[in-house]
């Protein structure tokens, strides 16, 4: 007992009688039990009872309201596989799956599931970036429509491989006995393993023909190169070597040949260094992604490209009697002078598929001396090798019954070639290796269900001497078999697994060791092996003069149709991935659709507006599509994208089914090659009750002269690095206390508007990393796309010429437009309508628009307007400068979204997961495998936005902490920055003075968007410098 005796009152001290007696009870006054238990009604429910009842009632209601959460079982490993630690991702080098090229990538794998592609930074030649389609193609692995096993036509139930092989072998034996040929259709020839398997197959069936088929043809280049220097190749183009780039309709940043690598190379010279940057001329019909980045973009009719090439050839001193044709403003002359000055640092590329055009381009490049510098014919490109003449010849032979069997390896000619179906049906046995039921496999007699590239081994050769090794990152999801193994099996080979390794592994390893050589495991680790030869300059057999003669008679047409690929969906082959569709087109910002793009003057002349449906007629067919008025497009040209209008069977649950129209039948093949420029087209307005509404993410075209994008010319920049960024603003006083970031990290981002091309790879990368839901066309129509990161595209008009100014001066003696002023559409229109009745000149401005791309995501403002208005503190500021979003706390008032000056907050209007109305990957068990387990899948009714990939920040911090060290400089980066092929986005810690971001923050070109608001964003942009006068 304590020696201190406390007493609580005088009564206790005195121990009065009353105190002693009352203290014996717990309650000094006693409980009113008698009253409660008496029959007196007035006291039946007293105050205490009321509280009891109330408390009980509340408790009961609360319990009743607590629904039982659904039970989901997670099965732990009974034996943990080596290296697999739940929660720790593994990374494997492999090859991209979105095309047949074989682009090196890293696959991020969590608990045995590949969840994301990341660029392979070791593969420096390829630039360390990835595109939107490349990212979105991961979903083809988890496509719920994937075939479950080998199938025979008519039966929708998979067979066993033994039975299937037996049938195929019988069929092939029958073909041999009938004396007919077997055709193998391949998608190019850069897979060493497939090539080996084909040769094994041929050894058994020597009457086999191999025909390469690619939906997009580059035969013009192949044929021209054969004629020019005897090599049937597409060379490697090195845009990083070029100081002056002149492109005639080649969308090399978007869709032409190998755009991801071109992006990286191109961007290396786009940021001014020591007063210099590359100069890019683009002559084109449609407004392409490449054109939107050009320093000088000149609208040109693609059907006139030959005439323009002749003009350039002459200007460069080429000997030809032909005059050619100059574009408005003598731009070809200027470009020729610059090319001449650049010498072997000049590069001319051309998107035409006409052999003669390409011959002249070759001659021009030869004159410049670009072979050996900008163009490498030794370590050439192997991603595209097909010539459609071979395939067309095959179709003719097939129709006349030459073939008893066709084996179609992962191509879909029945979609992309209008004549293929009839010819294929003339072949009795049609075997196809496919992942899903597409147009070709539906028509096949035998479907040898393939393995997904991520389940399979392969060695690809995208460039001569550069080998990319693909390795499986998941066990086969279904009963597929690699097409190489299938070929070997049909040739009588043994494809059983041996010594716990699959046939595909052994076969690939053998092939690698035989052809490439070296340590296979080492190659697997890095993902790329390079055995290069020294570049040599080819000797030319043909002169430019002859080429010019061949084109000279080709004249431009009145109206032309350009068939092109969209940056998102490309040729349509791997387009069954909703991310690629939801990614807005970098220029038109349309999602989920193709359309006929037309120029403003044509729209006015034919009384068309965006959304009007028109019927377009060419020699080969008609197509009915809505129109989209596209600024920058050349007058009298129309554009339609490929990759849409799939004809898929009913049982395929696919988002592609009702998307757009198929433009492949319109490709003109009458001249012996696929011509994507079609002359003599007619446009007819179709009367529809309503205009077609596009799912378009940006509906206002003009920047309204606002100081959002800052830009300057190279000359201005060289004079003063801060030019373009001078905006007179009063010194402002902040009402807020500044945050103290002196301790720990301070995260920030810098975006260089000079490097950013608008390719939109970051959008898809961000969506996949952060489980951003896909909402579909209808919701995009309602302006509810969920992208955390968007790329704002703004058009601006060139400042009016002196002539235009004098026009304005005439009007009322007042100069209404000042030279050099940023023009808005309204201002130009006003100036013109004030000056004259001639609105045609105003429409000319629409052909000559300038474009700027600006990635926009949460700016992580220090004085964030969203943070102050949330009533429940669901969005708060971190000590490291992040604007955090607490989903669990969010009640969805949307006030933050309204108060965000950048409008980057996205609201979950519906539950986008497990909802049959949003039947994308979030709503089926297979598709859900792609979800990043590090990021919450948001529920309905909460706000979300860019988090600066906070899960990556946290993971890296934890690794550093576990390893008892400080975080390394630029140890990690965000998903957008990581994937950017042009390195335009840089993320890092401002408190680390060594970091790239800290250096960029000191750059003279840096500015913040809307900085006058005083919100102090953590994202900094860098003034766009255009290399022009």
């Amino acid at each position: 007992m304590s020696s201190n005796n406390y007493w609580k009152g005088v009564e206790e001290l005195d121990q009065t009688k009353e105190f002693v007696s009352s203290n014996a009870n717990e309650f000094s006054e006693g409980l009113p039990l008698d009253k409660v238990f008496s029959n007196d009604d007035s006291t039946r429910a007293n105050r205490r009872d009321f509280l009891k009842y109330f408390g009980f009632g509340l408790g009961a209601v609360t319990l009743a309201a607590c629904n039982k959460a659904p039970i989901r079982k997670a099965i732990p490993y009974t034996e943990k596989p080596d290296n697999v630690t739940p929660g720790v991702p593994l990374y494997y080098a492999s090859s991209s799956v979105s095309n047949t090229e074989g682009f090196p990538v890293i696959v991020k794998v969590r608990e045995g599931r590949p969840i994301k592609f990341e660029p392979n930074k070791e593969a420096t030649y390829f630039g360390g970036g990835l595109d939107g389609l490349g990212h979105s193609a991961i979903l083809s692995l988890y496509d719920t429509n994937r075939l479950r096993g080998p199938m025979v036509s008519g039966k929708r139930k998979p067979l066993s491989w033994e039975d299937f092989d037996k049938e195929v072998k019988q069929g092939l034996a029958k073909t041999v006995s009938l004396g007919k040929s077997i055709a193998i259709i391949t998608n190019g020839s850069n897979s060493l393993v497939t090539n080996k398997a084909i040769s094994d197959f041929k050894a058994k069936y020597n009457n086999t023909e191999v025909i390469a088929y690619e939906p997009i043809s580059y035969s013009g280049i192949l044929r021209a190169n054969t004629k020019s220097f005897g090599q049937r190749i597409i060379p490697a183009y090195n845009f990083d070597q070029a100081d002056v780039i002149v492109s005639f309709g080649a969308d090399f940043l978007g869709t032409w040949i190998s755009p991801i690598k071109f992006h990286s190379d191109y961007s290396k010279n786009r940021v001014p260094k020591e007063g210099k940057m590359s100069k890019h001329y683009q002559f084109e019909s449609l407004m392409s992604l490449t054109g939107s980045n050009a320093d000088v973009r000149v609208p040109m009719k693609m059907s006139n490209v030959g005439q323009h090439l002749i003009a350039l050839y002459r200007e460069l001193g080429g000997a030809t009697p032909h005059q050619g044709m100059e574009v408005a403003g003598n731009t070809i002359k200027v470009a020729a002078a610059e090319l001449k000055a650049a010498g072997n640092k000049g590069l001319v590329v051309c998107g035409s598929n006409n052999e003669a055009d390409q011959l002249l381009v070759n001659s021009i490049n030869m004159m410049l001396g670009s072979y050996g510098t900008c163009i490498d014919t030794t370590n050439y490109y192997k991603g595209q090798t097909a010539d459609e003449a071979d395939f067309n010849a095959f179709l003719t032979r097939a129709k006349s019954g030459n073939y008893g069997a066709v084996i179609n390896l992962d191509t879909n000619p029945l979609y992309s070639h209008p004549a293929a179906k009839e010819a294929f049906n003339a072949i009795p046995m049609r075997i196809t290796t496919a992942l899903t039921l597409d147009e070709t496999s539906v028509n096949a007699t035998h479907i040898a269900t393939n393995l997904h590239p991520l389940e399979n081994w392969d060695v690809k050769e995208p460039y001569k001497g550069r080998y990319v090794i693909a390795q499986p990152t998941i066990s086969p999801v279904f009963e597929g078999r690699s097409s190489a193994s299938s070929l070997v099996a049909w040739a009588g080979g043994d494809v059983a697994d041996k010594a716990e390794t699959t046939h595909a592994y052994n076969y690939t390893k053998q092939t690698f060791e035989a052809i490439v050589g070296g340590n296979f495991n080492k190659a697997l680790e890095i993902g790329i092996v390079e055995n290069l030869s020294a570049a040599s300059v080819p000797s030319f057999n043909i002169t430019g003069r002859a080429a010019a003669d061949a084109i000279a008679t080709k004249k431009g047409v009145d109206t032309e149709l350009i068939i092109y690929q969209k940056v998102g969906v490309r040729d349509g082959a791997f387009g069954n991935t909703p991310w690629a569709h939801e990614m807005p087109d970098p220029v038109s910002k349309v999602t989920w659709d193709n359309y006929i793009s037309i120029a403003m003057p044509d729209a006015k002349a034919q009384d068309l507006e965006t959304g009007d449906v028109v019927k377009l007629t060419t020699k080969t067919g008609t197509i009915e599509l809505p129109v989209l008025v596209q600024p920058g497009q050349t007058k009298s040209t129309y554009g339609i994208a490929l990759g849409y209008g799939r004809l898929l069977p009913e049982e395929v649950k696919n988002d592609l089914k009702d998307l757009g129209k198929n433009a492949y039948p319109l490709v003109d093949m009458t001249a012996g090659y696929s011509d994507y420029t079609i002359g003599g087209v007619k446009l007819e307005k179709v009367l529809t009750p309503y205009k077609y509404e596009f799912g378009i993410t940006q509906t206002h075209y003009s920047i309204e002269g606002r100081d959002i994008i800052r830009e300057a010319t190279l000359d201005e920049y060289n004079k003063d690095p801060r030019s373009g960024s001078y905006v007179h603003k009063p010194k402002m006083i902040s009402l807020w206390d500044d945050y103290d970031y002196s301790k720990g990290h301070h995260w920030a981002m810098a975006i260089d508007l000079n490097s950013c091309t608008g390719c939109s790879a970051c959008i898809v990368s961000c969506s996949i990393e952060n489980n951003v839901p896909i909402v579909g066309r209808d919701e995009v129509r309602r302006r509810r796309e969920m992208h955390w990161l968007r790329i704002d595209r703004y058009y601006s008009f060139e400042a009016p010429s002196q002539k235009d100014l004098s026009l304005s001066i005439v009007h009322g003696g007042e100069q209404t437009v000042e030279a050099g002023e940023q023009m808005t559409r309204e201002k130009v229109m006003e100036a013109y309508s004030a000056a004259s009745e001639d609105t045609d000149s105003a429409y000319d401005y629409y052909q000559n628009v300038r474009v700027a791309h600006q990635p926009m995501m949460c700016q992580h403002c220090d004085n964030a307007p969203c943070e102050t208005v949330c009533p429940v503190l669901a969005t708060t500021h971190s000590s490291e400068g992040l604007n955090q979003m607490t989903y669990n706390r969010c009640i969805g008032t949307k006030y933050c979204g309204n108060n965000c000056p950048y409008k980057v907050r996205r609201f979950n209007w519906f539950r986008y997961n497990e909802n049959e109305k949003f039947d994308y990957h979030f709503s089926n068990d297979l598709g859900k495998m792609v979800i990043n387990p590090d990021v919450t899948v948001r529920s309905r009714g909460v706000m979300e936005k860019c988090s600066f990939c906070v899960q990556r920040i946290q993971a890296t911090k934890l690794t550093a902490k576990r390893e008892n060290r400080k975080m390394k400089t630029d140890e990690f980066t965000t998903a957008c920055a990581q994937t950017c092929p042009s390195n335009a986005i840089v993320f890092g810690d401002l408190n680390n003075k060594e970091s790239e971001i800290a250096k960029l923050y000191a750059n003279d070109r840096s500015y913040h968007v809307l900085e006058e608001l005083g919100v102090k964003p953590s994202v900094q942009y860098m003034t766009k410098i255009r290399n022009k006068k």
Binding site: E785, C870, R940
Partner: protein
């Protein structure tokens, strides 16, 4: 007793005390009329529309509305501000006019207060159901919780709204109920059935009409009037701060508090007039709600409408003068942009239309006043629509500029709140004395 030779009598028709009691109690004590049934059933049908559309919203998500990535508030908050505004007249009439000893308020204050309360009910639906997760709607209340240091954000104007509106609603309710007690006691005393006796007796809280009771009653009424008066000004001031404290051009203006309060009184009187003119006609209360009343109220409309009009013009001039391009654009866009029709509707209804009340004829012709009161209601709805939607649909970055059109769900919810409002109002008219008998009796001359 209230009389002055220079004033028109406030109650006409030579009513005696017993006439007043009989007239006011008649609807309560008799079977409802067919016009009452018509109104009540219409109200209930619309109320069902509210139930269905709200259920659909909660079941499917706010996605059933058409609000989007830029315009995240649309009809919902427009309707909220509209109803809160309407809810201003009642307290103004009962509190401020009581303090100013405006005796003409006596025959209208009861129904005006009832209208206030029902309007606030309607208003409260919107901030609640516009939440993405309405089932967590209690989170903005500063409740102690088991989530650690989780607390509400006192910086947020939405939180101020929660306090302002709940305070306003509770004070208005108490004030209204207090005023009802003597009248309920009258109904109780006249009741013939046991149930009526019980229920009216229950709510009369043992009122015995003694001088002591009256004395306390008047003191409490005055105190409540004193408490309510600042609330009339504060509620809409705080609602306006939802916009004024933001950074969005068109919202971020310091003129909002006074302008919103004037607008609220304007719209509240518009609604009071609409309702009273109906009640006056349906219930034959021409002697109690005289042209004198109508004239007084139209004068308030004329005054507040003009204040609002001046505010519109001031806002515009300030924007032009500011040299701030975003602000300038926001106002140019209101006038000439895609929503110009809404702006000009608002300008016509709120600025021009009430100016007819300079004419004595207009102020004393009931059908005409009715038309204008509807115009004012429409105009004030559009005012909120213009402020909210045109500011959001084109703010800073043109890349995010969008259009917004309501879906049937949003329209249904708005119509449905009228259902709730009229259902409540008709029930009120059936079961409670619509005119304050006790007070009206003080302003008539009864020879007895």
């Amino acid at each position: 007793m209230y009389s002055a030779d220079i004033r028109q009598p406030l109650v006409t028709g030579g009513k005696t005390y017993s006439d007043v009691t009989a007239d006011v109690c008649r609807p309560i004590e008799n079977k409802p009329t067919s016009s009452w049934w018509l109104g009540f059933i219409t109200g209930v049908v619309l109320l069902m529309v509210l139930v269905v559309t709200l259920a659909w919203t909660v079941w499917e998500g706010i996605g059933t509305w058409n609000t989007n990535k830029s315009v995240m508030w649309g009809w919902d908050i427009t309707n909220f501000v509209f109803w809160v505004g309407i809810g201003h007249a009642g307290t103004l009439i009962s509190a401020i006019l009581l303090l100013f000893r405006q005796k003409w308020r006596m025959s209208i204050n009861r129904s005006a207060e009832a209208m206030t309360i029902f309007a606030v009910f309607c208003a409260a639906i919107f901030p609640l159901f516009h939440m993405g997760r309405v089932w967590l709607g209690f989170w903005p209340l500063p409740l102690p919780n088991a989530f650690g240091s989780l607390w509400v954000n006192f910086n947020s104007p939405l939180l101020w709204d929660v306090f302002a509106i709940s305070t306003y609603l509770s004070v208005s309710l108490v004030f209204w109920y207090l005023g009802l007690i003597p009248d309920i006691a009258t109904v109780r005393d006249r009741a013939t059935s046991k149930a009526r006796k019980f229920w009216y007796g229950f709510f009369a809280m043992g009122w015995n009409g003694s001088a002591k009771s009256w004395g306390r009653y008047e003191v409490v009424a005055l105190i409540l009037a004193g408490i309510s008066t600042p609330l009339v000004l504060s509620v809409h001031t705080i609602v306006s701060m939802d916009f004024a404290t933001s950074v969005i051009p068109g919202w971020h203006t310091t003129i909002f508090p006074p302008y919103f309060v004037a607008g609220a009184i304007f719209s509240g009187f518009g609604m009071v007039l609409t309702l009273l003119l109906i009640a006056r006609y349906v219930m034959n209360y021409q002697d109690y709600i005289t042209k004198e009343h109508l004239e007084a109220m139209t004068k308030v409309i004329l005054l507040t409408g003009s204040i609002v009009g001046v505010a519109y013009i001031t806002e515009f001039v300030i924007a032009a003068y500011s040299g701030y391009e975003y602000e300038q654009y926001a106002f140019a866009n209101r006038m000439f942009g895609p929503y110009a029709w809404a702006y000009w509707t608002m300008m016509f209804c709120n600025l021009l239309a009430p100016q007819v009340f300079w004419s004595k004829w207009a102020r004393t012709t009931p059908w005409f006043i009715f038309v204008i009161s509807i115009v004012v209601n429409i105009g004030m709805w559009f005012e909120r629509f213009v402020i909210i939607v045109t500011s959001l649909h084109r703010d800073f970055l043109p890349s995010s500029w969008v259009m917004y059109h309501a879906t049937w769900v949003e329209v249904g919810i708005f119509l449905g709140t009228f259902g709730l409002f009229f259902t409540c109002f008709f029930l009120f008219a059936k079961f409670l004395p619509v005119i304050n008998m006790a007070e009206v009796k003080t302003i008539i001359k009864d020879k007895e």
